[in-house]
Symmetry: C2
Subunit: 197 residues, 2 copies
């Protein structure tokens, strides 16, 4: 026991099992919580306790949701003929904030990674294929890593024969960055994907 | 709603109200928790929910404890004539890890800070004074800030007339550091507090 009491230690262990939180930070957080009102810890605890009951996967797009189908899938004002494919539920929130995309989403819950034994059956790929009736365009928004690129190629090979347009979000120089500090692969991709001005 | 569901947003708000955790980190933590087993969130939530019930203040030293008096105060093998005074409960854990001190503790729960309106009555100073029967030595281990120094002086002025030895932990060059990179105040304090070799 680092902190004299078992309850404190348990809580420190929970916090320090989270990414980017070490034992020292976790200890600081727990002492901070103890200095707040008991109501704060109670609300925080209650919300954590019930998060897995309340938040489920949308059976259509596999994003997190509290109602099935999710608010995006059941929103009739969105373009229902376009699907944007992402790796994680958090990517949906990220893209929604850009307000650039008005269609539907599909969350793969990972990318192909043969080295780690992650194949097509481990992802929501079959569910994506079964949603393609009436879809005219699929936009792939996976991370521009080797695994992301391989997965994008795999999806394109399955979807293109169905006469659906498959596009991939652009790779290039981030806005506000300087060419000088870009790596060669990014620069090459930016030149390859040059668009009309 | 940033993340489409109210439950996710609530949890993100709780995490981002903690020190050093911004909204982006909080969102990452919540998505991480959702990827873990429901049991993890349940245990974490349960422990948070009950932390204020389980962890109380020791009525003797005012450290956090699950039993009153705390394990340190009720440990008969510790030297009961020596009290080490700290600012926060977390300082007790810190000092216990050094294994240098075998006496009892007293947690002030703050330091004097007239600018913020924190006077002697807001701290556990009166409780300290009422514990001094049979005590032969008080060691003050407050942070070497202006407020910490002022509080140490205040305590010394109250305790010394009772013919109790009052000492203060040493300020000086941290172990492994170089003189070259020490500020003048620290160096002056280190020279002032020079000890025999």
């Amino acid at each position: 026991m680092d902190n004299q009491t078992q309850s404190l230690d348990n809580l420190v262990s929970h916090f320090s099992s989270l990414p980017s939180i070490g034992r020292k930070t976790a200890t600081r957080l727990v002492y901070h919580i103890l200095r707040q009102s008991p109501e704060f810890a109670a609300r925080f605890g209650q919300d954590l306790l019930t998060i897995h009951e309340k938040v489920i996967f949308c059976s259509n797009c596999f994003n997190f949701t509290e109602q099935d189908p999710c608010p995006i899938c059941s929103n009739t004002e969105r373009r229902s003929n376009s699907i944007l494919v992402v790796e994680q539920p958090s990517d949906v929130a990220l893209i929604e904030r850009t307000k650039e995309f008005k269609g539907l989403y599909h969350v793969l819950h990972g990318v192909l990674n043969p080295l780690e034994g992650i194949g097509p059956e481990d992802l929501k790929i079959r569910d994506l294929i079964s949603r393609l009736e009436g879809i005219t365009e699929v936009i792939i928004a996976l991370n521009p890593t080797v695994e992301g690129e391989v997965t994008a190629q795999y999806l394109a090979k399955m979807i293109k024969p169905l006469e659906i347009k498959v596009r991939k979000i652009a790779s290039g120089i981030p806005m506000g960055h300087q060419l000088e500090f870009s790596d060669e692969a990014t620069l090459a991709r930016a030149i390859h994907g040059a668009t009309e001005v």
